[in-house]
Amino acid sequence: MTAVTHDEVHAGPAPPPTGWRRLLAPGWLRVPWMTALFFGIGAGITVLVRWLEGWDPIWKGSVITTVELTAVPFGFLAGIGGFDYWMRYAAGSPTRPEDHSGHGARSWRDYFRINTDHKVIGIQYLVTTIFFFVAAGLLAMLMRAELARPGMQFVDNQTFNGLFSVHAALMIFLFVIPAFAGIGNYVIPLMIGAPDMAFPRLNALSFWLLPIAGFMMLGSFLAPGGAFASGWTGYAPLASTHQPIGSVFFNMGVQWAGASSIMTALNFLVTIITMRAPGMSFWRMPLLVWANFTTSLLVVIATPFIAGSQFFVMFDHVMHTHFFDYQAGGYPLGYQHIFWFYSHPAVYIMMLPGFGIASEVISVMSRKPIFGYRLMALSLLAILVLGFSVWAHHMFVAGMAPWLRVPMMVTSMVIAVPTGIKVFSWLATLWDGRIHFDTPMLFALGFVSMFVIGGLSGIYLAAVPIDIHTSDTYFVVAHIHYVLFGGSLFTIFAGIYFWFPKMTGRMYDERLGKLHFWLTFIGFNLTFFPMHWLGIQGMPRRVADYVPRFADLNMFISLASFGLGASTLVFVYNMVKSWRFGPAAAANPWRSLTLEWQVSSPPPIFNFDEIPQVVGNPYEYGVPDARHAVFNGDRQVELEEVPTR
């Protein structure tokens, strides 16, 4: 490989090809024919094999669909240019040392190309995930419209089951998990003083897997028989033997989203372990970096399990294997064990980065060091370890071995301890601070209070006898929305507002931000709090119809949910308007000490024009003359350790 000098990098990309050669260059002109080519290859191989084996019919819809859900995305990725560098390298062709020319975005068009700049990828992630957040939210609005009155009004049973399945799958796999990956992608390299992620090309590829997964899940509504309708949990044997072909769209969508998740997590791990700036020891890392570090470990260890579970279901469905078919010796409960061995840790995958964001925002906005920094980091590790020992608390009524229930209850309860440590430490950080209530802080405080309610209802659900009563009811629906909406989503909003000036170089509209917070906070509580009562009283989850005595409260919830949905418009309007017309942002509007705020907004193309030297802890607010890092320009304090206590 040719060495790249700094000048060449700034020289920009090679001149674009002209004429018919444009069809060969990576990009949207190459996508259609490459996708068609891969479709043809997939269909051709399938038909050939069926013909050679003498199977009838040669063209079978379900088989072709399954094969194409693998082949077509590869065609898309090859067309957009996801594999170009590696293919050239593998073929022995000269690799283009211009790769880093993809850094930075000069116009909006650059966000629709393969780009290896972590800052561009971070924004690609966030915009894409917000798109799917809005789509999944609209599905929820349709559901609430149907549920406003008992009986069936707008949709049929199959469609309704599809609505809540796709809503949850999009929110989890295409919004919460990748939105945190997007924020991390933008912020983590800056925070640790690195010029980019460790594997920029892998980073680009992992982003482009996301729209594939998202449109696959949304597209399942167009499949014959409708969308997958067995819930995002996709329990076998319902999902493996009683579903339309739309079910395979979910099985494969999870593979693409999961692969994206694993690649990003590996990238985070290697970046955090190997690319920290001089002086950035583990005990000097900001807590968001700690949070992404533990989350990435969770992703790398757990995600293969859901991949496996979905492959098993797909094999049962399409190839008539018998993993979960009891009549042929399969084991239906096996699915739930494998699924929850991923999906409980996934709950922490969806929460720990939020903990990190809350720690950053609360410390900066309270103008105080984070309380008990080391215990905060250690409690993340405790959650990581304990998170793998609690999966069967989702299965207290599932008919698993009865003796397993009490140990799983105890471990689930114990997780409340590190979580409690974090909550109490945030409160102690607030105490005696000089608190600035900007929008990120409002969302961070909203997160702490709502997450406490969600955590407490989690204690009810961890206690086996109460769980036996409330399992699979609206109480669970209320609980997950308090932890995933009140928890994860509030921290995502906090993070987006907090780093908006850094990402765009412009300031968001503070008044609209506050309006957005209050509409969301109130709408959220009015929508989800009454669901606790519905569940305890006897309304099961995942039903399109219910008994008339719950009618009034459901109408109330539906109206509140429409208000909650409308609050998103304020957010989207604020983002679009401020990105385009907002006032220019200062380099460090929050007077933060961490590294990403010590460079311009938006940061230079390779983040740091000078390599920072980390000399102290990241949260030394109130310590006179405290520095987290120094640059070459101010050598005089370089080697002096700043006292920390």
Partner: protein, 344 residues
């Protein structure tokens, strides 16, 4: 911390805790318990609630107090005091929650063991000690079989008051879940395995049986009833039902009809059934004509193979296919009962 601020903090905490306690007490959260197990579950519920209200009050008080007292002035650029931690406090808020969740775990484990306890079958062979009921779930219906009463089956669950009942639960197709909110007990029905659930009903009445595990199209409609009655009444019902189902074809058709829950989806005037989830059986003759089959043959096929012909306006796959396993005598009785009762 000054004494005045402590007093204010405590006052806010009391207001928050009091408010939460009012919400907990004034709103009737729990269904009226109708089993001994539900009574014990309610105890755990309140035990946890008291602890949760205390924690909620503490957190809410600190947040509200901080928001009110530690607000920075506009334009202020001062920092707070650089407090990095406090080992004592950190030990307290690790140890106290650990103790609380340990207490909850112990209480829960004891209640779980009590709720799971099944009395040993009596030596005298008393069918009510305990009463064993086999619960079979299928898309989208429940069926209850009383093994101690000559395998008597019923589409509704009849239970004797104050007698321990052992439910053995299974499924014929996908996962379902048996739940009666008033009994507080729930158990998934999993194909290929028998799961146990113990209920000791202690209040007469009729309660809904609800499927809580997503099982397909008709999940929301998969409901039945649990009827609790005095033991004597239960015994006479069971004996009477045994006699009816075993009687000659002409007389037992109606019993087969209700015992298999046909009335929970269909309208059929002679049986007093009036549900509209499935086709109206009063119009069987017209429906047979549409299907182009003789009446009796049409009825028989529609019971054992419901998807062979689906009446326009109804969803294929909604009616359970398991009635193909009805004993021949009962099937014959049901067909002639329906053919005889259909409107001319």
């Amino acid at each position: 911390m000054r004494r005045g601020s402590v007093a204010q903090l405590v006052a806010i905490g009391i207001v928050c805790g009091g408010g939460a306690a009012l919400v907990a007490i004034l709103i009737p959260w729990l269904p009226d318990p109708a089993s001994r197990q539900a009574g014990r579950i309610d105890f755990v519920f309140w035990f946890v609630t008291v602890i949760c209200i205390a924690i909620f009050a503490l957190v809410a008080a600190v947040i509200i107090y901080s928001v009110l007292k530690f607000r920075a002035q506009p334009g202020e650029d001062m920092d707070g005091p650089p407090i990095h931690g406090n080992t004592g406090l950190e030990i307290v808020w690790t140890a106290v929650p650990a103790a609380l969740v340990t207490a909850i775990s112990i209480v829960s484990a004891i209640v779980l063991a009590k709720n799971d306890h099944i009395p040993k079958a009596s030596a005298a062979g008393d069918p009510l000690h305990p009463l064993v009921v086999e619960v079979t779930a299928q898309q989208f219906a429940w069926s209850f079989k009383y093994t101690g009463f000559g395998d008597l089956t019923s589409a509704t669950l009849k239970l004797p008051l104050n007698k321990p009942v052992k439910l053995r639960i299974t499924s014929l197709d996908v996962n379902h879940s048996f739940w009666v909110p008033e009994f507080g007990q729930k158990q998934d029905a999993v194909p290929g395995s028998w799961n146990n659930l113990v209920i000791t009903p202690d209040k007469n009445g009729t309660y809904p049986v609800i499927c809580t595990e997503l099982c397909g199209l008709g999940h929301a409609l998969m409901r039945s009833r649990a009827e609790v009655m005095p033991a004597q009444k239960f015994l006479s019902w069971a004996k009477g039902q045994q006699k009816k189902l075993g009687g000659p074809a002409g007389s037992s058709g109606k019993a087969v009809f209700t015992a298999n829950g046909c009335d929970s989806c269909h309208t059929f005037t002679p049986a007093g059934a009036n549900k509209k989830i499935g086709p109206d059986l009063d119009n069987l003759r017209q429906e047979a004509q549409r299907a182009g089959q003789p009446l009796e043959q049409f009825i028989r096929t529609s019971i054992v193979d419901p998807n062979a012909y689906v009446e326009p306006g109804f969803t294929k796959g909604l009616m359970p296919t398991s009635f193909s396993s009805l004993p021949k005598a009962q099937l014959d009785a049901l067909v002639s009962y329906l053919a005889g009762g259909a409107k001319k």
